[in-house]
């Protein structure tokens, strides 16, 4: 269990606190007899100062470890030695009892239990044996249990991270080379404008000859430049469409781009009227009869050589995250 204090920790803080605990834990587990006391003191100090560890310890149910130890001590007095160390059966109480002993080992006053005395009380009369016994029955089990609890606590406070996408560099088009050219007859401007707005809102970069070009700009060179920066040419084939004049040039340039760029340039003829003759140069490209603008846009998005990215919240929405229900 963790309290609300740990839930407010950042991911970086949690990682830092876990790392600090791990270092002190490994030092006391691996310490030899020469520096054992030093590392034990550092470990106990870490337990008392590490915010994440304190949080875990703080949520443990109350258990009178002093009374438990007093009972064991009293019994030992009667029988002249400790026979075995019986921790409480409840795992939380056991953790509290182990912590109690650890703190008594690290104390520097009359209440201190010296590790050597502790070991001797259980029949280990050599310093190294006493340390190993203490490590085996108190320190390591405590560390093991705390490690598990830290793992759980760390996962609970870590927010779920959205997966990023790693896109192969070869799949990333050059900047400004993913325009969509909308070729149409001027009389169909209203229809094409609606499609233009939809594509723009979706996140694509459409352009048409009347808004992309200034007066006097409407030259073949301008169309050629525009096509060069495009990855698709969409032809709105209505009954008004005629394969002549600028429309003829647009078809020609689109075919050149398709030849030059291969799969990275798509020609998408949309046939709005079934009786509309298909321009000869467009016949070899897959053309679709569409029943209205919605179906037309669906076919366009399916046919395009580019795709848009994962959804993100709008800025205004992201700033107004809902309060958690208490």
């Amino acid at each position: 269990m963790t309290s609300s204090a740990s839930k407010s920790m950042t991911k970086e803080e949690v990682t830092q606190y876990v790392g600090m605990f791990k270092r002190k834990r490994d030092e006391v587990i691996g310490a030899d007899s020469g520096d054992f006391d030093h590392h034990l003191n550092r470990f106990v100090n870490e337990l008392d100062t590490n915010p994440l560890v304190k949080d875990i310890i703080g949520t443990l149910p109350l258990f009178d470890a002093a009374a438990w130890w007093h009972k064991i001590d009293e019994h030992a007095e009667r029988v002249r030695r400790f026979e075995r160390l019986d921790f409480p059966p409840n795992v939380n109480d056991e953790l509290v009892a182990q912590l109690f002993l650890l703190r008594r080992f690290a104390r520097n006053d009359s209440d201190q239990i010296r590790v050597f005395d502790f070991g001797c009380a259980f029949g280990h009369f050599n310093v190294k044996d006493a340390i190993e016994f203490t490590r085996s029955v108190v320190i390591r089990p405590f560390c093991q249990e705390m490690t598990e609890r830290l793992r759980t606590a760390a996962r609970m406070v870590s927010p779920e991270l959205r997966e990023l996408v790693g896109v192969p560099v070869s799949r990333i088009p050059e900047d400004g080379k993913t325009k969509l050219f909308l070729s149409h007859k001027t009389t169909n401007k209203d229809l094409v404008h609606r499609c233009f707005k939809l594509l723009k809102t979706l996140g694509f970069d459409p352009w048409m000859d009347d808004d992309a070009m200034t007066a006097g700009d409407k030259t073949e060179r301008a169309i050629l430049d525009g096509m060069d920066r495009s990855c698709a040419a969409i032809f709105f084939l209505t009954k008004e469409f005629r394969d002549d004049g600028f429309l003829e040039a647009e078809i020609d340039y689109a075919v050149v781009q398709a030849r030059k760029k291969g799969e990275r340039f798509k020609i998408i003829p949309l046939v709005f009227d079934r009786d509309t003759p298909i321009p000869r140069l467009l016949e070899r490209f897959t053309w679709k009869p569409v029943d209205g603008e919605l179906e037309a846009m669906h076919e366009v998005i399916r046919a395009l050589p580019i795709q848009l990215g994962p959804p993100i919240w709008r800025e205004s929405v992201a700033d107004s995250a809902p309060e958690p229900i208490k």
Partner: protein, 188 residues
């Protein structure tokens, strides 16, 4: 260490189970031996056996229950291809060394010293009497190490080329590499 080692009399094989920490997405931490940076990737437990051999020694090459081809991964940051053994973190290496020493080397040393003591105990010839005793300070088994926990401290990335998920430490403003095929990726 998971279970205590057991000796299978039928084929003189000692079997060990080992617990190595993974994070909540079952990702295992790795460290590039070239650039030193850490990343995480999902691995099959049997693939990790490849990384144990250098710790245990050539005479005790670990064998997976279901052996397969040795596997390698590309470093996410520098793109260098390395085996699992080369991608072990310092923490994992230290842990494996301690486990191998405790469970294999130390007991063998103890057994050898016991045999030696028994061999020379009370040995005598006409001219020389030889006796070997061991002090009460019997060669201690080192304490069993603990490893973990593994935090969720990295950001998941799914590569579009191989559709695998791995994790990177951010911020990182340079291109990264797919752990599976090594191709250069940009984060989106």
């Amino acid at each position: 260490m998971g279970d205590a080692p057991t000796l299978d009399e039928s084929d003189d094989v000692q079997r060990y189970s080992l617990n190595l920490p993974i994070d909540s997405d079952h990702c295992f931490r790795m460290q590039c031996s070239d650039c030193g940076m850490e990343f995480k990737t999902q691995v099959d437990p049997s693939q990790l056996i490849d990384s144990l051999a250098p710790s245990v020694g050539r005479d005790w090459s670990p064998k997976a229950e279901n052996p397969h081809e040795p596997t390698s991964r590309f470093c996410v940051y520098c793109g260098k291809r390395q085996t699992f053994a080369e991608l072990r973190t310092d923490e994992t290496s230290s842990y494996l060394r301690q486990i191998a020493y405790r469970e294999i080397a130390a007991p063998m040393i103890n057994a050898f010293m016991d045999q030696l003591a028994a061999t020379f105990s009370g040995s005598r010839s006409r001219y020389i009497s030889f006796k070997m005793t061991r002090s009460a300070d019997h060669f201690h088994l080192p304490p069993r190490p603990i490893i973990g926990p593994e935090c969720d401290d990295m950001y998941p990335v799914r590569s579009l080329c191989c559709n695998v998920t791995f994790k990177v430490a951010l911020p990182w403003s340079f291109p990264i590499h797919c752990v599976e095929c090594g191709v250069e990726l940009q984060l989106r």
